[in-house]
Amino acid sequence: MDFLAPLVVSSLSAGLALAISIVDAIVNNYGEVEIDINRGKKKLKVKGGSPLLQTLAAQNIFVPSACGGRGSCGVCKVKILSDVGPYLPTELPYMSKEEMTNNVRLSCQIKVKKDLQIELPEELFKAQRFKGIVESIKNLTYDIKELRIRLVEPNSIDFLAGQYIQLVIPPYEKVTQSVQRAYSISSPPSDSGHIELVIRLVPGGIATSYIFNHMQEGEIVEFVGPFGEFYMRNTQADMIMIAGGSGMAPIKSIILDMIDKGIRNRNVWFFFGARSKKDLFYVEMFRAIEKEWDRFHFIPALSNPNPEDDWTGEVGLITDVVDRYLTNIVPKDNEKEAYLCGSPGMINASIQVLQKHGIGKIYYDKFA
């Protein structure tokens, strides 16, 4: 008698599952269809019959979705160029007029039944989840660490110098939920088997406290990426780069990338702001680059040098130093682009100075 209940439940489930499979095979068979992403950039051969969101996820393209495809969050919007019929009542509450004229649809509600042409933000179909091993944790200053991660699965990453990743911090101590924090990659794309991050301790910060107090070399970490619109634009303009603290990371990646790619014909002025000498790092590395590459100029500046620092370099707020250089030293005839990374305060002040000197093309990465 004891076998009866499991037997009934499983045979009922099996019977219904069989019925569904039969209906599925007969009714829901749309054959193989092709999804064309961004006009031929990527073509996927998939089995039709499932919603677009799940079909893409099965191909490792993760359109952001908060509800997991139940049509209740309205996040998984995708622009569809093919005709997939009128808007469904489940989509309408989430659509603006503008999105409707552009044929933006909710990908969880659109079933893939025939060949489709869709548009996705480039970073979506490049962003993926990575697993890696913490290879080293080095102190750059008393409150900044360099984290080097060796990629395990997948074992290489394709990104643009200047982009960032989201590091997954596991639950620890009183933190019960895993959190994600964005950090710029400081290593160049050529080192595709590793990423390096420059992380400054935020007192009381969940993620940085974990990295400073709990993370061990050899530990397995996960991250998602790459993301971001902060990367070098391919022009001939002179580059004014300004960074403070851990804002060093994306700028370092861009400079190392330029060296890797042999881009030596652009003038680069890299201003790095710190409080005193104990906040400076990577100085020898940039001095060495300066010797090799005559158009590269590294200008570290201290706002409050200590007497024992013996500092002979620039002194003052980084914005004042930039102002001085743009007025007196940097040649005025060339077109200029600016790349900034640091605290919101530093970036806003820098933008004002740059605009005063007529520099309009300003790209920046603000710490949020």
Binding site: V8, V9, L12, A19, G71, G85, P89, T90, L92
Partner: protein, 198 residues
């Protein structure tokens, strides 16, 4: 237990008005509140709930009579009902999608949403609890679906009116909707005296 002596058609009317599954038992609230933002969607969802309720009540009645009671498996009732509902909804969706794309657009897309609608399970459980016959169960399921449909369409119409009404900002959205539902429930209680059915 005896089959209650209720005229099935009386049961149909009662389940629409006096014992409306939404407004007197407050089942299926989640989609009731979220979908009633839009009248057209509410209509489609109401239709889908009616269809699914009618079919699953019948299917679960057969399951109850020929499987659960036969082998004395009443403690597995919830699980078995849910499995049945999920399977029926799945098949319905695929069939409608293939047979009539137009019907699918107005109704079929809601089917996955209502697999877990508690009104569907609730009606099946009431049907069992009150020991209805097959014909009573089908009409009860159909009537409860119609009642749900009526309630969500009414709410959608009222919400359209409240959109531009001068409501205190803290009450906008779900707040005023819940108050509206409460008032509607009280109004429906007015029907109770009309029919001698629970």
């Amino acid at each position: 237990m005896m089959i209650p002596q209720i005229n099935p058609f009386l049961l149909l009317i009662a389940s629409i008005f006096t014992s409306n599954v939404l407004l007197s038992y407050f089942l299926g609230m989640c989609s009731f509140i979220s979908i009633s933002k839009d009248l057209k969607s509410s209509n489609g969802l109401g239709m889908a709930v009616t269809l699914v309720m009618t079919i699953t009540t019948a299917a679960n009645w057969i399951l109850e009579k020929y499987v659960i009671q036969r082998w004395d498996l009443s403690y597995l009732r919830y699980i078995l009902y849910i499995i049945m509902i999920a399977a029926v909804v799945q098949m319905l969706e695929m069939i409608i999608d293939r047979v009539s794309p137009a019907l699918y657009i107005s109704l079929g897309i809601f089917l996955p949403l209502i697999t877990v609608n508690c009104a569907i399970l609730g009606v099946a459980l009431f049907m069992q609890l009150r020991n209805y016959s097959l014909i009573q169960s089908v009409l009860y399921g159909f009537g409860s679906g119609l009642g749900w449909w009526l309630a969500i369409v009414l709410l959608a119409v009222i919400r359209k009116r409240t959109e531009n009404a001068p409501i205190p900002s803290g009450l906008k959205g779900v707040g005023i909707t819940l108050i509206t539902i409460g008032l509607m429930a009280m109004a429906f209680m007015g029907f109770v005296g009309m029919l001698p059915v629970q």
